[in-house]
């Protein structure tokens, strides 16, 4: 299989799928042209990510990294969450096929964008 078990688990049973109507921040990355598009919704309380949801159009890796990043982010401070890199997500999943590392591993970016959106709104 091109994906390991953990990736397949997050892909077939993705955590935190959906949207948040009254989200505190929304981050969108990707482009349907590339075959991957993600939207991350966050709820924030006292600088802590209390909830994260995602919607993703994309391949198995795109869905798995989206699911993973929500798990990784929930409970973290905004500052901590901003430090989550693409590589961290891939590592947490136990690795991704090389070809997917660059093109479908956008979930961390989407989370960062959602946090930036939240910070912009707060200002």
């Amino acid at each position: 299989m091109m994906y390991n078990e953990k990736v397949m688990d997050h892909f077939t049973n993705p955590r935190n799928v959906g949207d948040i109507e009254d989200a505190d921040g929304v981050g969108e990355v990707g482009n349907p042209t590339c075959g991957d598009m993600m939207t991350i919704y966050i709820k924030v309380k006292d600088d802590i990510l209390t909830n994260i949801k995602f919607k993703t159009f994309g391949c198995g890796a795109a869905i798995a990294t989206s699911s993973m990043v929500t798990e990784m982010g929930i409970g973290k401070t905004l500052e901590e969450a901003l430090k989550i890199t693409r590589d961290d997500v891939a590592d947490e999943l136990g690795g991704l096929p090389p070809i997917k590392l660059h093109c479908s591993n956008l979930a961390a970016d989407a989370l960062h964008k959602a946090i930036e959106d939240h910070m912009r709104k707060k200002q």
Binding site: P14, V17, P32, T33, F54, T56, F57, G60, A62, I99
Partner: protein, 384 residues
């Protein structure tokens, strides 16, 4: 539950009857056809009989059949062999924009070596307009290479008409019939083609063997050099067991042709009908009429192909997102691009290619699985 294989456009299981035909050629009739002794003679008998079978299945003379290592080599030999040998007459080649990589990349290679190639575009149903081909013809055109049927969307090209317009101008015509053989009646003289590629592993024969039909009198040169096998056009000890298996597969394809086609067409139409009816925003890629009897290629809005493919695989269902050859490359399919589809539409396309052993129950199970999977994926999609 028993897995369901619906990726016959990628490859097929070898028919047990074919395996049986091959078996003696491993341990008993193992000679080299070039040898003068009895072992060599027996191998030669098997080789000649196979050549006769393959030739007669497409209405050719045995001397017009060159055995190769597969469709890719046949395409390379046809195109380079004609180009190099006839370059004094001209250096222009015409092809379509939906050819298999074996043709497209061979053309691209020739472009880097002094040849010019015109890629005639297909229309939005994946069909070539003979008039556009005619317009592309120049004084220095030496070869038109257009596939008989497309491997992704199954569209069947008007190769007979192309041959007519080429014959008037003394231009050679090659067709890649790797996907059409066994599913579209093929008689090289009725079609009028000069060169025709076929591959064994798409018709329940072994991998690693194919053939190129070369009409008598065609000016072509070898692209591999060595011993004087295959009339000096293709060097290398003949893969007799593979060739015998290929020939048996051709024989079976011929014998079962009518039944196969009827069965496949009925499954295909049932699946296309059920999918389009039961899944919103699903559309057929490629023409419905000029189409291989076993090809179902559908695009589903808002979802991505790999994700569908993997979820189907989890349910034991094997399909493809386009050409098997390109599915690991992540690039959107050049064939779907040629139809003028938007990128997000291409990403959501699935190719189902039916085979002899598929049943109605399997077809229905796959449609049900698709309904469930697409529902699930659309529920996560920001586009839906």
């Amino acid at each position: 539950m028993k897995p369901i294989y619906m990726d016959h456009g990628s490859t097929t299981a070898v028919d047990p009857d074919v395996v049986r035909a091959m078996t003696p050629y491993f341990t008993e009739i193992f000679g080299n056809a070039s040898s003068l002794h009895s072992y060599g003679e027996q191998a030669t008998v098997g080789l000649n009989a196979s050549r006769q079978i393959v030739a007669s299945a497409i209405g050719a003379h045995p001397d017009e059949i060159i055995f190769t290592s597969g469709g890719t080599e046949s395409d390379n030999l046809a195109i380079k062999g004609i180009a190099y040998r006839n370059q004094d007459r001209g250096r222009h080649i015409i092809t379509s924009n939906i050819e298999h990589p074996a043709v497209l990349n061979t053309c691209a290679y020739l472009e880097k070596h002094g040849f010019e190639v015109t890629y005639v575009p297909v229309n939005d149903r994946g069909l070539l307009d003979v008039e556009s081909v005619k317009e592309a013809v120049r004084d220095d055109t030496i070869l038109i290479t257009v596939m008989h049927a497309n491997n992704e969307i199954g569209t069947i090209q008007p190769i007979e008409e192309i041959c007519i317009l080429a014959r008037d101008k003394g231009i050679y015509v090659h067709t890649d019939a790797v996907q059409s053989i066994g599913k579209v009646p093929i008689d090289v003289n009725r079609i009028g083609v000069d060169l025709l590629s076929i591959s064994s592993h798409k018709i329940y024969g072994p991998k690693g063997v194919g053939a190129l039909y070369i009409r008598k009198g065609t000016n072509i040169e070898a692209i591999s050099h060595g011993g004087s096998h295959e009339r000096g056009i293709r060097a290398g000890t003949e893969n007799i067991s593979g060739i015998v298996g290929f020939a048996r597969a051709m024989e079976l394809a011929q014998a079962r042709f009518d039944g196969d086609c009827e069965h496949l067409r009925s499954l295909r139409d049932r699946m296309i009908g059920n999918i389009l009816k039961s899944i919103d925003h699903s559309y057929l890629n490629g023409d419905l009429e000029q189409r291989l009897v076993n090809n179902v290629n559908i695009r589903f809005s808002y979802v991505e192909g790999e994700a569908m493919l993997l979820l189907l695989n989890n349910k034991g269902i094997a399909v493809s997102t386009g050409s098997a050859c390109s599915s690991k490359s992540l690039k959107p399919s050049h064939v779907l691009e040629a139809l003028g589809l938007a990128p997000e539409e291409m990403h959501g396309s699935l190719r189902i290619t039916l085979g002899r052993e598929n049943t109605e129950a399997e077809a229905d199970r796959v449609v049900e699985a698709l309904i469930e999977i697409i529902g699930k994926l659309r529920a996560m999609s920001p586009l839906a």
